[in-house]
Amino acid sequence: MAIEVRDVSKSFGSTPVLKDVSVDITSGSLTALLGPSGGGKSTLLRVIAGLETPDAGTVTISGVDATRLSPQRRNVGFVFQHYAAFKHMSVFRNVAFGLEIRKRPKAEIRKRVDELLQLVHLEQFRDRYPAQLSGGQRQRMALARALAVEPEVLLLDEPFGALDAQVRKELRTWLRRLHDEVHVTTVFVTHDQEEAMDVSDSIVVLADGQVQQAGTPQQLYDEPASPFVMSFLGPVTRLDGRLVRPHDIDIATSPEPGTVEATVNRIVHLGFEVRVELQARSAAEDPEDVWVQVTRGTAEGLRLRTGDTVHLRAIPSALSLTV
């Protein structure tokens, strides 16, 4: 294990932020700490980095108990949401900072920094100042700066949170590829489930200061431990009192055993995907709003119109949880 977090608790004032959290991070993995804001994921990351001290519990990094170590001595690289660029230093000096304070020979520093700038595609910006870079470029500089000291673990706190959607997608693909090249154990915090599923090998879902579930993206999607995890890891809807994925519902034009009658309220065409919003009337429950995700072909085959009465049923292989 690269990182072992054991029974860590942390309160800010009287507000508990982490409650008995235990997490294992495998060496060389790319792990996402996923959860809603205020769930404690950033605090957990900062506890691992030594930027916060836990009230109870231990943090072990590469087999060494780091709980009482200062951040300087943990050998972790940390990347902040708002870049934390050293504004008064050029890109080169920013990346070189960690090596300069370790008093490495000048020639070695220059070589290493140039390599890193090449890795993050900033070699032509080496003499610019952070103010002259875009957000995405600043974040790549921050990554190079963190990697320069060859950290044992790389921690990223919502690294793409301040960037616009397009750059965010580019950067996360790029982070994935970078990780495949560099192989440093990486933990990143995000509240975006798509980002977590897209980039990481494993996901730890944190909410209310507790680990809700940990596993591979596939495991979490297919075998969610709770309705919360299920609804956080992808779209869900309610049918007949159960939580179902909206693509796991069949629409039929005539009643069959186990179907629920519903009225089509709205049909939204989203290119390939069609989103059908309905009101279902099952025998036991009050009328409930349901939405179903179908392909364009299916929607056309059913000749759906607003106001139509149809019959809904979860497909046999559907995952469903009682709420």
Binding site: F78, H82, F97
Partner: protein
């Protein structure tokens, strides 16, 4: 003008000529005119009048007025004491700003409000306070009356707010993540202060020091009581000028004033250049 417009306009562009430039809601003429008129009446004309009065006798007369032994001594004392005061206050002002922004202690709000007091106080009142505290009858048994140290203390007192008030907002806005990034890269607190925090404070410190310096060379009220105005010893330039005016020698008073004016102006220009140089690095 038209040539550049023609070159930049794409063929078939439907924009009317002149619409390429974005205009403010009103023409800028009125505001600019008002600002220039006001500045001229309040600042520029009086300064020009003093400078004119100072040099109207020719460079020879100007130079001999400035280098009269008592004026020269007063100017040297004033510039030396002001430089010393600026240096002391740039250090202490930064320390105070740091404590006010970063530390938590009881009564912080009161201390914060107190900083401006030396500046808000009429300077003659400041002089009176200092005389009562450090005068011949000092309750602290620190007698600074009629000494150059007294001049320096008086100047320290009135110029304290400048560095504190220029550094404080910068320190408040300083990105704390930057420091934490430095820590995680292996830098200790001392190194982080020197390499990360201080460079970001320097422009504010320089500008505060400049303001303190220029304020100090013009100081009259706070020094006049404590220093005793002994020519060649504790007489500052402003008092020297006042003495010349009382002696009905306005020409040489204007010359010494012009000398002070030039020094202040030079300091402000250098500061402005430093600021521009600093802001280029963003």
């Amino acid at each position: 003008m038209t040539a550049t417009l023609d070159r930049t306009a794409a063929p078939g562009a439907t924009k009317a000529p002149g619409s390429a430039r974005v205009r403010g809601p009103k023409s800028p003429g009125l505001g600019l005119g008002l600002a220039v008129l006001y500045l001229s009446l309040i600042v520029l004309f009086p300064l020009a009048a003093v400078a004119w009065r100072g040099v109207e006798g020719g460079p020879q007369a100007f130079w001999s007025a400035v280098t009269t032994p008592d004026s020269w001594a007063a100017l040297k004392l004033t510039l030396g004491a002001s430089a010393l005061v600026a240096i002391i206050n740039v250090v202490m002002g930064t320390v105070i700003a740091w404590v006010l922004v970063r530390d938590r202690f009881w009564g912080k709000g009161v201390v914060d409000a107190l900083i401006d007091l030396p500046f808000a106080l009429p300077t003659i009142v400041a002089g009176l306070v200092l005389l009562a505290l450090y005068g011949v009858t000092s309750p602290l048994h620190v007698n600074l009356a009629y000494t150059r140290a007294g001049v320096v203390v008086a100047l320290l007192f009135v110029t304290l707010p400048f560095v504190v008030r220029t550094v404080q907002p910068v320190l408040q806005e300083l990105d704390r993540d930057m420091e934490q990034a430095a820590y995680s890269l292996g830098a200790g607190p001392g190194l982080t202060f020197r390499r990360i925090i201080l460079p970001n404070l320097v422009p504010a410190m320089v500008s505060g020091a400049g303001l303190a310096f220029t304020r100090a060379i013009a100081e009259f009220g706070s020094t006049v009581l404590l220093s005793g105005n002994l020519p060649f010893q504790t007489q500052v330039a402003a008092v020297n000028i006042f003495g010349r005016i009382e002696g009905d020698d306005t020409a040489s008073a204007a010359a010494v004033s012009t000398a002070l004016l030039v020094v202040s102006f030079l300091v402000l220009v250098v500061l402005d250049l430093l600021q521009r140089w600093g802001s280029r690095r963003g």
